[in-house]
């Protein structure tokens, strides 16, 4: 068990700096998910923890100790790679055992560990098979078992579910959550899928272009986004955001915060538009409602409307969020907030 700390960490590849002066603390025993768009530096961050691609400057601490000089194999971390990186020439058993052998674990203990871990991940029947004869999901389990068997204090996972089909992915998600509960070790999980992040994390670290945008629980990230990027990254569909028309400020609201009606409502902000698309997703339906000024996605739990229908969109004032020109959120207490809200109300249809 261990906490992880980044202190003023910078990482460059040649002349391109991917991460600059990053500070981050990952709490001991937590399930932390690093999430962000492709190329934002998630894998880079993970590899610095593992020691596979050491930082250019700054310090990485595991359990309070600077690990810069410590070899990857000695850091007490295990990693599940995005492409699994299973040793193709070894059987499943040899794959799982390899780390133990290198750490001079005795044969009896090894056999016992391999048997119990493979039972946990459901690989017992496949121990003597070569990886090339396994399915994607089974290979993923081999990678997991290989990491688990070493009893690491830190578990690193780089998009381990991205190669699986949707159904297996959801199943594995649950298994990973349970695994974390059982082991209680620090998990650092990388994904670019915000749904995965929301469903698994204790803490989400949202990154963009090598900069941390927000670090909070899924709940807070969703309800209280720090900035426009966070607001528009999480949620399916993401938050509706449009310019206010002054100072480069923007306003936004979640698709499910709006109400659709056929007759004008007395909502605080409202506009009249026409439904241009309709996506029926089962329990909910997502409409795109458009007028000359706004195009917003609206989520409804009842499927009452059809394409080309004229509807009224209404949003209560407490659901409206404001963002400044610097993209940061403007809290309600801010002196600008009242003015901006008033402007917004006048933009809506009376």
């Amino acid at each position: 068990m261990a906490s992880i700390e980044f202190r003023k960490v910078t990482k460059s590849f040649g002349d391109s700096t991917v991460i600059k002066d990053l500070d981050l603390t990952i709490a001991d025993g937590e399930f932390t998910v690093l999430v962000g768009p492709s190329g934002c530096g998630k894998t880079t961050l993970l590899r610095m923890i593992a020691g596979l691609d050491p930082q250019t400057s700054g310090a990485v601490l595991i359990d309070g100790k600077d690990v810069t000089q410590i070899a990857p194999g000695q850091r007490g971390v295990a990693m599940v790679f995005q492409n699994y990186a299973i040793y193709p020439t070894m059987s499943v058993r040899e794959n799982i055992e390899f780390g133990l052998k290198n750490n001079k674990v005795s044969k009896e203990e090894r056999t016992e560990l391999v048997e119990s871990i493979s039972a946990t991940v459901g690989l017992s029947e496949y121990l003597d098979r070569k990886p090339s004869t396994l399915s994607g999901g089974q290979r993923q389990r081999v990678a997991l078992a290989r990491a688990m068997v070493k009893k690491p204090s830190v578990f690193l996972m780089d998009e381990p579910l991205s190669n699986l089909d949707a159904k297996l992915r959801i199943q594995m998600r649950i298994e990973l959550i349970e695994l974390h509960k059982k082991l209680g070790t620090t998990f650092v999980y990388v994904t670019h899928d915000q749904v995965e992040a929301m469903s698994m994390a204790d803490t989400i670290v949202l990154m963009n272009k090598g900069v941390i945008q927000q670090e909070a629980s899924p709940d807070l990230i969703y309800r209280e986004p720090n900035n426009r990027f966070t607001a528009q990254f999480v949620g399916v569909p993401p938050m509706n955001v449009a310019p206010l028309g002054t100072d480069g400020a923007h306003f936004g609201f979640r698709p499910e915060s709006a109400v659709l009606t056929r007759t004008p409502s007395d909502a605080w902000f409202r506009y009249k538009g026409v439904i241009t698309t309709r996506e029926m997703l089962g329990s909910e339906t997502i409409y795109q409602v458009k007028n000359e000024q706004f195009t917003f996605m609206i989520k409804c739990y009842e499927d009452l409307f059809t394409v080309d229908e004229h509807v009224y969109v209404g949003v209560p004032v407490e659901k409206i969020m404001l963002f400044g020109a610097d993209e940061n959120r403007i809290p309600r207490e801010d002196p600008r907030a009242a003015d901006y809200l008033e402007r917004l109300r006048r933009q809506g249809d009376e």
């Binding site: 593992a50 020691g51 596979l52 070899a71 990857p72 194999g73 000695q74 971390v77 295990a78 990693m79 790679f81 492409n83 990186a85 299973i86 040793y87 193709p88 020439t89 070894m90 390899f98 780390g99 290198n102 750490n103 090339s132 290989r146 070493k150």
Partner: protein, 293 residues
């Protein structure tokens, strides 16, 4: 209906027919002709005087000391060349694969160069280098105060000299094959091994070697077959001497090409059988250690 099914069964055979004809004419027929020759006392000047003598050529062969000397020389040559070439080629490939530097790119091009030069030219140049009195090799050895060698002119060092030239000629080519194999190993596997706390030796032995085993196996077989049939270096550099110390099986065949074609053919058949057996043994012993993706 019936027509189409018949055509369906025939079509594959019709399609490989041209290739089969070529193989029949240029591979199968010569081999059988060679076999036939080995049972005759063949008269090159007057074909009509050729005579079927059964296994006499083989009996003669197995009772001749020269044959055993040639066989022994060939074995020594093959084992040494194959081992040295594979080990050196592997070391070179590992060295070049470590980093992408200018020097390594240069080295990669450099070691391949001997392979594009004709072996005849190479043999001639090395003969000059190995000249005991004026050659550069002895000059260099002398400058460093090391004992000189008579190289090709002594029966105790002649074979080694021929081996040296062959290894020098081949090593770059095989290093390149192994380098390509090394470069196709996904780097994440090595990273996984680093996280598994594997030592460098263990990583090499348990991961690198198995990963490049198909190419190693290929090189081993190709080199063994090639070395067994060594001829050109021997023909040019030593002519089998001194004192038969570099006479190999193919050179032995060559020596009897005109005055006893039947005997030469019998030797050729024996050579073919030896190579076939060796290849078979390789596959038997090693094939399950080779990892194919």
């Amino acid at each position: 209906m019936n027509n189409t099914t018949r055509w369906d069964t025939l079509r594959p055979y019709v399609m490989i027919l041209p290739a089969m004809l070529a193989i029949l004419c240029f591979v199968i027929y010569p081999v059988f002709y060679l076999l036939k020759l080995s049972f005759y006392r063949y008269n090159l000047l007057n074909k009509a005087k050729s005579k079927f003598i059964g296994l006499d050529n083989y009996k003669q062969l197995f009772s001749k000391d020269e044959f055993y000397v040639a066989l022994n020389n060939t074995l020594i040559y093959t084992v040494t060349v194959v081992l040295l070439t594979i080990v050196i080629a592997l070391l070179l490939a590992l060295l070049i694969n470590r980093k992408k530097t200018r020097f390594n790119a240069f080295l990669q091009a450099g070691i391949f160069t001997p392979h594009i030069i004709s072996i005849v030219s190479i043999a001639l140049v090395w003969m000059l280098l190995m000249e005991p009195n004026f050659g550069i090799l002895n000059y260099v050895l002398k400058t460093f105060g090391l004992p000189t060698s008579k190289w090709l002119q002594s029966s105790s060092t002649s074979m080694l000299s021929v081996i040296l030239v062959s290894v020098w000629h081949n090593v770059g080519y095989y290093a390149l094959i192994l380098l390509a194999a090394l470069q196709s190993v996904p780097p994440t596997i090595y990273e996984a091994a680093a996280l598994d706390n594997a030592s460098r030796f263990k990583t090499f032995y348990k991961i690198t070697l198995p990963m490049i085993s198909p190419q190693l196996f290929f090189v081993l077989i190709i080199m063994t077959i090639g070395s067994f049939k060594v001829f050109d270096t021997v023909r040019i550099m030593t002519g089998g001497g001194p004192n038969n110390s570099t006479s190999t099986l193919v050179y032995h065949i060559y020596e009897y090409r005109s005055n006893n074609l039947g005997y030469a053919s019998a030797t050729g058949i024996i050579l073919m059988v030896i190579i076939a057996i060796l290849t078979f043994v390789y596959f038997r012993v090693l094939a399950n250690k080779v990892h194919y993706q």
